[in-house]
Symmetry: C2
Amino acid sequence: MNYADRLQAQLDARGNPCLVGIDPHLEYLPREFEAARDTRLPRAQRARVLADFCCEVIDVVAPRVAVVKPQSAFFEVFGADGAVAWERVVRAAHAANLLVIGDVKRGDIASTAAAYATAFLEGVAGDDRASLCDAVTLNPFLGQDSLDPFLQVCARSGTGIYVLVRTSNKGSADFQRHGEPELSQVIARRVEQWGAALLGECGLSSVGAVVGATHGAELRMFRESMPHTPLLLPGYGAQGASARDIVDAFVPRASRMPCGAIVNSSRGITFAWREREYAHLHWKDATSAALDKMIAEINAALSAHR
Amino acid sequence: MNYADRLQAQLDARGNPCLVGIDPHLEYLPREFEAARDTRLPRAQRARVLADFCCEVIDVVAPRVAVVKPQSAFFEVFGADGAVAWERVVRAAHAANLLVIGDVKRGDIASTAAAYATAFLEGVAGDDRASLCDAVTLNPFLGQDSLDPFLQVCARSGTGIYVLVRTSNKGSADFQRHGEPELSQVIARRVEQWGAALLGECGLSSVGAVVGATHGAELRMFRESMPHTPLLLPGYGAQGASARDIVDAFVPRASRMPCGAIVNSSRGITFAWREREYAHLHWKDATSAALDKMIAEINAALSAHR
């Protein structure tokens, strides 16, 4: 089944477009997981504790969101032990009926890109398919021939990709805004073209784009230049974007919530216990409360926009 | 010790600027490693055989070259088992007195980039430092703040980075040539600036650039816009660039071989046994002969250029 359709069905079932980014920064882990920071312990044990935390996050958020987005860098810090932890977390997310967007931002020449597509989306025959992702984030810097192998795998396996178009960080302006038209605009048009072959019945493609919610004024423009492209919006919460900032990224639908975008929060949810607002709560209750608040804020903004 | 100086010392000791890319495509492995392709075998066993092949390649090439560049994608196809294989191969390369450039092409927002720098260059305290790389390739699409954490780690740990400036594939023109001046030129100037704080006694920086040898006419321009930046040149051999194409990437030195660039060949060396020229040889002898030929060709071109 087409990834865009799978995603839309799951979003409609949950009734909100929020996703939780799982970025397990060692230094922010709650105290009960401090063993992950303990340099006297074996790396494998530390990586296991990291995965324990991620799996508990999944338990807390799974009933309310459609998607989680683990960030591979925070697993890779533990090398091969981190890779074991990554697979356990992806399996746990699938077991909890979540879609998984692997935030891996890979990008390489075609033969290498094909290997990455195998690694994250299709698997080598005979391996544990539950540890594969439903979609991954990709870096388009190497051009179309670096994306083609992923498009082929997406068509074969009902998976998706999110191409970086305009990232949420300040430095994104350095190169993504280069030229006239700006590079991000050029990439956006190509993303929409690449997606044409992977349209789902929902009218959206399995080829998505990452567009930072921190660039509010540009969202409407990206929505217009990529009418069939689902947008993944980082930057909400800890990075400063508000619910009002993101409504322009959505596509209106008759008598239903707008569609076409998913809104990510990572630290703002998983490390909510560090915020004064939630400091009196156990970390799980803080995470739960922060997620409830995000869902309410975003759905309210979308309702007002409808 | 500064990475640029470590690299230059090793290159001078070996007397050639060649490096061997270790891209273990499953389908190209010699028959004695066909177990890596056997989907009936457990993934861990297949990954072990993949690493066996890479370690034998290292044995063959280590006496003659200064550097190897394993490509992480071909390990990641085996998930966590591939990560174990990756670490074994990096350790084997170090044990053979080779420098290791991890071809990982990562690029992400700052907090995530810091995790990648830890993962590949600095390690978490207490882990096996022999499995870390001396340098990594990085994708600059996210801008300067995505590179800064690496620059800090390079300064602390005597490691290096190679920033993608103009890649060797055809599709690289899609976005890297966008704008006026072309994006690659803009990135090149920034790379030279980033490198200023990491200059070695050899006069070159630990901040390098990846520039495809397949764009011969542009090499001289990149050499001029990045006078202190060591260049990593993919594209020689299987991708079509010749020894003549690459001489403009080097910096002349009084009474010694030119410096400032390293030339990569991957398939052309490790899978030389597949070429008609070497088909009569055992794969190791084919690899050895292809490497000898590459070294001779490149050194001859550099001598003529001197």
